[in-house]
Symmetry: C2
Subunit: 168 residues, 2 copies
């Protein structure tokens, strides 16, 4: 099925019943080493770890690297969808994401320092037959509709619960 | 090296020179299929994709699932570090993260709908010898110092550039 057909079919399904637009995603992470975490999400599994400087064995990328990968891949996929919607073609696309983090926040050495990223840079490289203006138009549409860019740039309400194994 | 030693050594390194606290993380994502993205970050590589309902072949988790995994694993690792700092022990720890997303935002069917998550739930399951009060104290310290929870709950400044392959 082409993406154009998929987009049209999705629009029809959502127009028919707005409940079809509501998605819930989830992931389950279990600590299996000092910093090693086994993750299950949908039908997929993978590992997260820290480098030795952060107490781990470096068997996999760490959480903030996964966050940057999430942003970069979401940008790339949103380019694919919005290129289709706007009738803009490209041959290749890659996205480099980079984030600055002051570790004093995480360690609690200085509670005036935020624990997360203080700044993020997204650099998109595109090749293809269209003009710079068309690619700039595409980039603006992508930035307005990219789920993970929205997550990075706007606050999301988070509720957190903690319980023992037998509690509900 | 124990985590207590690592934390003390890190504090000394940062006290000696605040520049030692500044970390830069990055990831590179390249579109290699309709929605399949190859990611490189540090020495690690992995794949991102979408399920068929979102145009992909489901060869790997999608960007928002990676974002949820990033949050859950960051929570788990921050529990490890802050349990050590607060002298609170636990036997097992797992974190379920769940997020609500209205796909009308991503597709641009309704521009009043945000493209990203509208709400996130984090559910932590801990077992061990400590009281509920001590685990609640630990959870509060974790939530104040978890880098990816900070990313989810607070805005991060993002700058985006786009260029062709030969431009700088």
């Amino acid at each position: 099925m082409s993406l154009t057909t998929l987009i049209a079919d999705t629009r029809k399904a959502v127009d028919d019943d707005a409940a079809n637009a509501q998605a819930v995603f989830s992931a389950q992470g279990t600590l299996v080493g000092i910093t090693e975490v086994d993750v299950r999400t949908g039908t997929h599994t993978f590992t997260v770890d820290e480098p030795p400087a952060l107490g781990g064995a470096d068997v996999a990328a760490n959480p903030v690297q996964y966050a940057l990968a999430s942003l970069g891949s979401c940008q790339a996929i949103t380019y694919r969808f919005w290129a289709e919607q706007l009738g803009i073609s490209f041959d290749s696309l890659s996205v480099r994401t980079e984030g600055d983090l002051d570790i004093r926040g995480f360690f609690g050495f200085d509670d005036t320092v935020r624990p997360g990223f203080s700044a993020i840079r997204v650099d998109v490289t595109v090749t293809g037959p269209e003009s710079d203006e068309r690619y700039a138009e595409l980039a603006a549409a992508v930035d307005a509709h990219c789920p993970v860019l929205d997550l990075f740039t706007n606050p999301v309400p988070v509720t957190r619960t903690i319980h023992g194994k037998d509690a509900s």
